[in-house]
């Protein structure tokens, strides 16, 4: 494992920057997630580290070595793609062993066997080793795809939305597994996703990326509790943060144009609060209920307390406790 450094990298496609002046360090043993929407430059960043793309400016360092001009095979990285492509005619064992059997590596057969069995155990697929890859469920296939990267012990694992083709339940299980494996191995991972849950639950640090730039990097809690701007604030949290005109509440700083209010910033009472709102709808999503309010024409969505016993049409009062404030340019300002 090794530290990976992206130094002021810019990558142009048709003269348009896909990644602009991006700098990021993934520490040894760290799990960094790049979180952003489609087209933000996440995958391009990953491909630049892998050597599948060459930067127009800047450099890439792995383990203290400038690898910017090195071929992918020389960089000691392992890539896990969104669409796992296993060799359908090979068994799970052969799929896992494939990378180790490459002629240039010259790994002794006994070492290959030991390594494959160790990784299979880690991924809970040891009983499937002699099945054909096509006889596996989607979750098992994705485990094999991840396993193929794990057998190699590279400097860094690069993962491009590896869980997005799995169903919700499997994704939930794999999140926990992947995090456990990473911790157990002390693996260095750069992970790309548009799923905030994946980023928050697995990453040691999240880099929020938009239009090829990293807007903020920090621990999940830092990003969630202390976003630098309204865009970052809106990326994390379910339901999404409510961005409301500052004029709706008294007490906002003079420069504030927008108030950011999450569930934990809102107190809902039957009366006596700062402002009145009407309950429009309560959406029961199972594990949580979303309370949809109308606040002077502004929609507000917050988690509903299951014991609150509210119904559509009820008038409630709202008060804020330590919300976030943003200026006209969307930049966070102190309360």
């Amino acid at each position: 494992m090794a530290e990976v450094e992206i130094r002021a990298v810019t990558k142009l496609f048709n003269k348009m920057p896909a990644v602009s002046d991006l700098s990021l360090t993934v520490g040894n043993g760290e799990f960094v997630a790049l979180l952003g929407p489609t087209g933000a430059g996440k995958t391009t960043t990953l491909r630049l580290v892998a050597g599948l793309e060459a930067p127009d400016r800047g450099s890439i360092w792995i383990g203290g070595r400038d690898v910017t001009r090195e071929a992918p095979a020389d960089r000691d990285v392992a890539f896990v793609f969104q669409q796992y492509s296993l060799y359908p005619h090979l068994t799970v064992f052969e799929n896992l062993a494939f990378a180790l059997r490459a002629p240039i590596r010259r790994v002794p057969e006994a070492v290959i066997r030991a390594k494959v069995e160790e990784v299979a155990q880690l991924l809970h697929i040891e009983s499937k080793l002699h099945n054909k890859a096509t006889q596996l469920s989607g979750g098992q296939m994705q485990r094999v795809a991840i396993g193929r990267a794990l057998v190699r012990s590279p400097a860094i694992y690069l993962m491009d939305e590896p869980l997005s083709s799995l169903d919700a339940k499997l994704r939930g299980e794999m999140r926990l597994e992947l995090k456990r494996i990473q911790t157990d191995l002390g693996a260095t991972i750069l992970y790309v996703t548009h799923d905030q849950t994946e980023a928050m639950t697995m990453a040691s640090r999240i880099g929020v990326i938009e239009s090829g730039r990293v807007m903020q990097i920090g621990t999940p809690r830092e990003i969630y509790e202390n976003p630098v701007n309204a865009y970052v604030a809106a990326r994390l949290g379910q339901p999404a943060i409510n961005l409301l005109p500052a004029t709706l509440f008294a007490g906002a700083p003079d420069a504030a144009r927008t108030i950011g209010a999450r569930t934990e910033h809102l107190t809902i009472m039957r009366g006596g609060g700062d402002v009145q709102a009407t309950v429009k709808r309560i959406e029961h999503l199972g594990d949580q209920s979303h309370l949809h309010l109308d606040l002077g024409g502004q929609p507000v969505v917050t988690l509903s307390d299951p014991e609150a016993d509210l119904a559509a049409g009820d008038v409630v009062s709202l008060s804020l406790n330590n919300p976030l404030f943003f200026g006209a340019d969307g930049i966070r300002i102190a309360a």
Binding site: P37, T38, S164, D167, A168, K169, G172, R175, L176, K179, R180, H194, D195, T197, M200, T201, P220, R221, Y224, L236, G237, Q238, R262, T263, E264, E283, H284, L285, G286, D287, Q288, L303
Partner: protein, 365 residues
């Protein structure tokens, strides 16, 4: 608009029994989701309602009329597929207007209706654009527009959002539901995604192995699942299952778990000593030093407002959803309690829920 009644519908493909005696009613203006894993028979059921497959047995009634053997074109139904095929050589306006052209509707009337549909779907600005350059969500809106423009009696949708990414899907979920509220058209919507079903449906029919296991409101499906399958399929993370052996008497309001009495909703039926399952939703697990079940924290997943805590216990790994402010470390020993009035009990062998006081509020959610 229309009511759809499906009565004892059966479909076999050779020796494969795809749908077994499915019965449910979609009331006029209702939004029903057929929800289940792949291969459960939900799409086959939808295709039979559309007239794209003929049932082996059973009846389909559209507004009381038996349409079981009618051709698809005689059913006044619009179908929206997962892999929407737009005509690549036509612009958005002509794609949406195409079904009306096929019906021989005048170009003035056609244009008026296309403009109206585009306004509802908020794609007016795209009308003269070619469809090839459109983003995924906009392409899906055009596909929807082509279904809406015919003003059919009902809409049948087969995973229409399946090909979109998470963010676009969440936006389209809100839009589809808002559209339904505005048009009030009877809708049957097939999905394997429980979040789509929970967020959009008035009622959900959960299918498994060709059988409709439960038809109820999203809230009842979540709070009062009739089977282990439904309980496990709905909810993320899913319900925790604690296997135990015991007996139940009507009125009994506790079960014996290890050496502790765990309060549960009062039983309404008797069970002799048998293998049972206690079902606990993660949000109904509480941390307590004197908790009934003890275990070790295996992992904590931070979600901002809440967190999911996985605890290894003698009943397997249990998941709890707690406020993110609760500080827990991996490896720490904790005690767990369960919120009594929310618990489900199942018979392990049949997989069916045992009737308790929990089910007495059903139907009002």
């Amino acid at each position: 608009m229309a009511q759809i009644r499906v009565e004892a519908l059966d479909k076999s493909f050779g020796t494969f029994h795809a749908v077994r005696s499915a019965s449910f009613t979609v009331e006029d203006g209702q939004f029903l989701c057929l929800l289940g894993p792949s291969g459960c028979g939900k799409t086959t059921t939808l295709r039979m309602i559309a007239g794209l497959e003929l049932p082996t047995a059973g009846t389909i009634r559209l507004d009381g009329e038996d349409v079981t053997m009618n051709r698809a074109s005689a059913r006044d139904i619009a179908f929206v597929f997962q892999f929407f095929a737009l005509y690549p050589h036509m612009n958005v306006r002509r794609n949406i207007g195409f079904p009306l052209k096929c019906e021989g509707i005048s170009s003035a009337e056609r244009d008026r209706r296309v403009v109206e549909v585009a306004r509802i779907l908020r794609i007016s600005h795209l009308l003269d654009r070619p469809v090839s350059g459109l983003a995924g969500g906009d392409r899906q809106r055009v596909a929807l527009g082509r279904a809406i423009v015919r003003k059919p009696k009902c809409f049948l949708m087969d995973e229409p959002l399946g090909a979109l990414d998470t963010e676009m899907r969440e936006e389209m979920i809100r839009e589809l539901r808002a559209l339904h509220d505005r048009l009030g058209a009877t809708t049957v919507y097939v999905t394997h995604d429980q979040l789509e079903a929970m967020a959009m449906a008035d009622r959900i029919a959960v299918m498994n192995n060709g059988v409709v296991e439960q038809v109820a409101s999203p809230r009842d499906i979540y709070d009062r699942p009739v089977s282990l399958f439904v309980a496990d399929f709905i909810g993320s993370p899913p319900m925790n299952f604690l296997l135990f052996r015991g007996s139940l008497q009507p009125g009994a309001a506790a079960i014996r778990l290890g050496d502790r009495d765990v309060p549960v909703p009062a039983a309404r039926e008797a069970r002799a000593d048998s293998d049972l399952v206690l079902g606990v939703r993660p949000e109904h697990v509480r941390f307590s030093d004197r908790g009934m079940v003890r275990g070790e924290v295996y992992g904590v997943e931070y979600l901002g407002t809440t967190q999911i805590v996985t605890v290894t216990t003698s009943y397997g790994a249990l998941k709890a959803r707690s406020p993110a402010s609760l500080a827990l470390r991996t490896g720490e020993t904790v005690g767990l309690d369960f919120r009594p009035d929310t618990l489900s009990i199942f018979d392990q062998q049949s997989g069916r829920a045992i009737r308790t006081a929990l089910h007495e509020g059903a139907g009002h959610g």
